[in-house]
Structures are given as structure tokens and as C-alpha cells.
Point group: C2
Chain length 340, copies 2
């Protein structure tokens, strides 16, 4: 029996990279069925304020799992990112991003011989992402930052469970509780409360600025880090930079009822439709999704094949490494399939 | 005639590194006179809530310039960092940190052959650093983030002036105005308003998460970046990591009436009093101070000597590079003096 999931192809290069990834899934005999949903910039433009049709929302809520391509944030004052809205609507409170060095993807760190292998778990709903702001006068803007104990607890618990599942021995909490004593203080307090339930995982905390300093000098000292939303956003992208950029980092938005697996890079309108986009981040997100669904053998099979393909120097044009001959999206997918 | 400045030796390793730096200044015939002020953790412990005596405050306000060693943040709920209080009390609204690769100081980036040379200007007073927070319930913490137009304008103007003075051709504004549309929106709007007065400096803006991704992969594309307080704090430490850590990065807190030049690393109580601490960050801050005072020849002389000393492999024990023989603080200072 196949598991059915919702698929939103995304905007720009979304449909091309989604097609490539699903073709790889098919070749690997992944037991999935897809229900395509109407979601993205064009649906926003057609009057759906959340960027999706009612039918799309119903389908996603029924199936509980959405695999999505990148979506363009509509322009305009007061308009919210479709990606961020989706995370919020379904309370996908934990954003997990796995960062690891990929052989064949050159970075400053690979050149220095420093392997990257760490996971960031970011709180995905609270903090300044509530968008509660006002202009007190024309010259004074006030924003509110809200951190709650249950909101912190659910993402921190997820991080500990994930650490355990991955066989990690430690989890760090990144924060700025020396300045934001009550808000980040509450997050940190909750972290240590929940840590007591996980004596097998060594828990520690680190101030976020110090964390960033260490991530760019000794990233190998970390296994997993849990943070509040905005700090987690910044640290996630920093870590993406360590492994080659957003094109090489998967992302999962985990909730109790609905989870979303997505590529977090842009929609690259400049190259959309040309069939040359890099499907790696979406494929990595797909692999994360397969593991989440329990299809561990298929996940490992595809992952090994992807890693080997990259190692062979088979790259799409955006790898930045101009010395290597580049292939288009479909040829890249063909190579991954051939290596399965 | 000599210029008189206030000097606070700092806590922990502060007195040792300050002595070394002032000895180098003397050998370089820097025309400065010092008035030592009572400021630091022990003065806080003795009942001075700001960490300084009334006499210290008076002296600093009279002289307008404070050269300070690191100071320990007193423990306890509601207690503020002495460093942060000092910045606030005197409205030192711009925090400037210059980051450059130092030959002889190995980092991931030096190993990859990527030279670092950039300046971060951070707003130093506003944002969540106001410490306006409350617990709405035991489970909900609310913090307020305040950004003002005049507060933004003064630091942004400083950044443009600094860029011009340094001969930079561009200045970027880092922000998260896609999420914090009003607060960071106000900062960004102010940036572009002031940019119009500096047509010789190319202005651009970049979302802070993307900025961090680029800083760890292509730092050479930036010359100077101006940011709000907390984002600037995070990005400053990230950049410190690029050049070897806080032990190798100078810091200036600039205000209209009072400016503070300080080492922003810790007080290293574990090695305090042993004469082995690294005076490089304080010396670099001192060099920045000499330039600020217009003593450009002395600044260049000391700087060249420091760079040459580091390049020779003369290192204190904290460089992390265990292969190189390490010297103590005084021997390091002697070497800098010999190279003058
Ligand atoms: C596009 C933006 C609103 C979003 C965020 O800040 O969460 C992005 O940076 C991300 O990390 O997915
Ligand atoms: C110690 C801490 C309060 C301080 C800050 O956040 O400003 C430090 O990180 C700095 O950058 O000087």
C-alpha cells in the first residue's frame, strides 16, 4: 500500500526540481502517491490571501504531509510570506535543518579540511515572527517579541527526541538570555527543565553571538542546537553557508498534525523554465521526509546515490565551481538514478 | 602637549594586558597622558550599581575618552553588564569593529586562502537592549523591541562617514525587514534616506540571514555593514570568528561626547595574574583609538609592528596553534616594541 502525501510544486524553478525529485523517488520504488495542491504566488495573485486554495488546504490537512517546492513571497506592505504563513497555519513548531559537508561541493570549510555535520532545530512560530508591531510616532517603531513556555517546550522536546533518534550525544541551546532575560530566559529555563527527561543527552547552552563565532571556527564541536525563531533563522543560514548554501540544505517543518518538507532556497525566476536548476536541496528535504515516514531503506539508497553523484563531480550550473562541467536538472536526476 | 584620556584597567586579565599596551604606547612615543578610573566588577561589588565610582564617571565625562580593559558581568537577576551600561549611560551609539586577517593567526579562512577585511558598525543602544520585558503569565514572556529614527540615523550616518574616511566604496545595511516590517523597516528606510547624502558610497541592503550565509562563504564581497543592535552583536562575533576570535578584534563605542575603546573578549579569570594573556585585541582597540584621536603616524607604526610580530610567529599561549612556541604577555609586548 502506498502512502499518500500532498505535493505543491512551487513557483519559479519549483516545478522543474520537483519533477526531477519525484522521478528519482519513482526509480527508487518509494511507496508514495501524490495529490497535487494549488499553492503558490499565482494563487495569492488570484485572490487567495494565504497563497493556497480551500481545496489545497483541505487536502493538506487530510493527508498531514506536504512536500513543497520554493514559493515566491508576494510583494506589498502587510503581505506575508506564503512559506511563513504555511508554517503558522498548521503550527509546524519545529524547523529542522540538517547540514553536512558534501564531497564534491567545495566550500571554505572543505578546503580547510573541516567536515560539517550538525542539525539546527529552530522554533518556527513565536518570537518576532508574530508580526506584532506598531508605529508609536512617525519616528518610533515598537515590535513585540513573545516567547511562551508551551511553545518553547514543544520545539525543545522535538529537538531532544530528534537527537536521541539520530544517536547524538549532546544538544545545545543557543540564546541571548544575558540581554533578553525574561523571554530568552524562559526558553532557556524550559530547555533545562526538559533536559532532565533526557539524561542520555548532554545538554548545554551557549550565547548566540559566541555560538556564531564558534560555528565559523570550530563547527565540529556541535551536534545539534535548538534556538528561538529569529536567532534560529540566522544560525540556520550561517550553517547553510558552511556547506555550500541553501541549495545544499534540507528543511523540515514539523507539527503534531501536519509536517512540511521544503526547499528553503529561492524560486530563481531568472533561470526558471530553463531546466538547469539544482534539485539537491529539495531532494535532501525529500530524503528527510522519507526517513520521517519510516522509509529508511529508500532514504539511505537515494542519499548514497546523491552523495556519490555529487562526489563524481556531476553538478548543475549553480555550484559556483566553474571548473567543473555542469549538467542540466534532468541529466543530474538521471545520474542519481543510475547510481541507485 | 599631551592628550589626557581615562583608563580603566578592567577585571581578570585586564590589568596585565593594559600594562602591556600602555608600555607599547610609551615606546612608540604616543603623546597621551592617563587618568586611571575606578570601574569594574569590584566597584559593583562595593555598592556602585553601574560598576563605577562617582569620581570615575566625572573623570570620563570630563576627558571624553575611555580606554578600557574587559570587565566581568556581575551575576544575579536584573543585574546589567557593566560594559553595556557604560555604552548606554554615555550614548555611545555606534559600535565599530574592524575585522582583518592577521598573518600568523591561522583560521579556517586563512587556510582556505580567503583574506578578511571588513568593518561592522552596530547600533549600540536600542533594539531589545532596552531590557523592556515582562512576564504576562508564568508561561508567557513579552519583550519590546524599539527602533527610532534618530537612533538609527546617528549610527547610520556614522557608518557612512567612517566608510568615506576609510576610503571604502560601499556600505551595506543588514536587517530583517521582511519579518520585522515596521522596526527594521524604519532602520532600512533611514539607511536609504541618509545614503542619498553619500552618493560616493554605493549603498545596498541584505537580509541578515542571507548576510550570515554570505559572510561564511564569500566574506570578500563586503567592506562595511551597518546593523541594528542584536543582529549587529551576532554578526560582529561571527566576523570575529573569521579572523581568529575576540582576542583579535578591536572595538570602539562612539558617541558625540564620549567614546570608549575596549577589548570585548572576556576577563579570563582562569589565567588572570599569570602574565600569559594575549594583549592583541586591546592593542588593536588602542590603535583604533589613536586613529580616532588623529595620531595616525603612531597608529600605523604600532600596527605595522604588531602585524610583523604576529607574522613572525610570536604568539601568546591562547592562539590555539599549539605547534608554535608561545611567549608571555610581556615578552609579546617586548617583541612589538622591538619591531617598532
Ligand atoms: C523568507 C523568510 C521570511 C524566511 C524566514 O525568515 O523564516 C526564510 O529566511 C527561511 O528561513 O525560511
Ligand atoms: C556581554 C554582552 C552583553 C555584550 C553584548 O551583547 O553587547 C557582548 O556580546 C558584546 O558584544 O560586547
Amino acid at each position: 500500500m502506498k502512502t499518500k502525501i500532498a505535493v505543491a510544486k512551487g513557483d519559479g524553478i519549483g516545478p522543474e526540481i520537483m519533477a526531477a525529485v519525484l522521478r528519482i523517488f519513482e526509480a527508487a520504488n518509494v511507496p508514495l502517491d501524490y495529490e497535487y495542491v494549488e499553492m503558490g504566488k499565482s494563487y495569492f495573485d488570484a485572490g487567495h490571501s494565504t497563497g493556497m486554495t480551500a481545496a489545497a488546504k483541505e487536502t493538506i490537512e487530510r493527508l498531514g504531509l506536504l512536500f513543497k517546492g520554493p514559493m515566491e513571497t508576494p510583494k506589498g506592505k502587510g503581505v506575508k510570506s506564503i512559506n511563513v504563513t504555511a508554517r503558522k497555519v498548521w503550527n509546524t513548531y519545529a524547523n529542522q535543518r540538517d547540514f553536512r559537508s558534501l564531497n564534491g561541493v567545495d566550500t571554505v570549510f572543505s578546503k580547510a579540511g573541516i567536515p560539517i555535520n550538525l542539525t539546527i532545530v529552530r522554533e518556527n512560530i513565536e518570537d518576532t515572527y508574530g508580526g506584532i508591531e506598531h508605529l508609536l510616532t512617525n519616528d518610533v517603531a515598537v515590535g513585540r517579541r513573545i516567547i511562551t513556555r508551551p511553545g518553547s517546550a514543544q520545539v525543545i522536546r522535538y529537538a531532544f527526541e530528534m537527537a536521541r533518534r539520530k544517536g547524538y550525544t549532546k544538544l545545545a541551546c543557543g540564546h541571548k538570555a544575558n540581554i533578553m532575560k525574561l523571554t530568552d530566559g524562559l526558553f532557556l529555563e524550559t530547555f533545562y527543565e526538559i533536559a532532565m527527561e533526557y539524561p542520555d543527552i548532554e545538554s548545554s547552552d551557549i550565547i548566540v553571538d559566541d555560538l556564531c563565532m564558534k560555528l565559523v571556527s570550530r563547527p565540529e564541536i556541535f551536534q545539534a542546537i535548538v534556538l528561538t525563531n529569529l536567532q534560529g533563522d540566522i544560525v540556520s543560514d550561517l550553517c547553510a553557508g558552511l556547506v555550500g548554501g541553501l541549495g545544499f540544505a534540507p528543511s523540515a517543518n514539523i507539527g503534531d498534525n501536519i509536517s512540511i518538507f521544503e526547499a528553503v532556497h529561492g524560486t530563481a525566476p531568472d533561470i526558471a523554465g530553463r531546466g538547469i536548476a539544482n534539485p539537491t536541496a529539495l531532494l535532501l528535504s525529500g530524503i528527510l521526509m522519507l526517513r520521517y515516514l519510516g522509509f529508511t531503506t529508500a532514504a539511505a539508497n537515494i542519499e548514497n546515490s546523491l552523495l556519490y553523484t555529487l562526489e563524481q563531480g556531476i553538478h548543475t550550473g549553480d555550484f559556483g565551481d566553474k571548473a567543473v562541467a555542469s549538467v542540466n536538472t534532468e541529466t543530474f536526476a538521471d545520474a542519481v538514478i543510475a547510481n541507485l
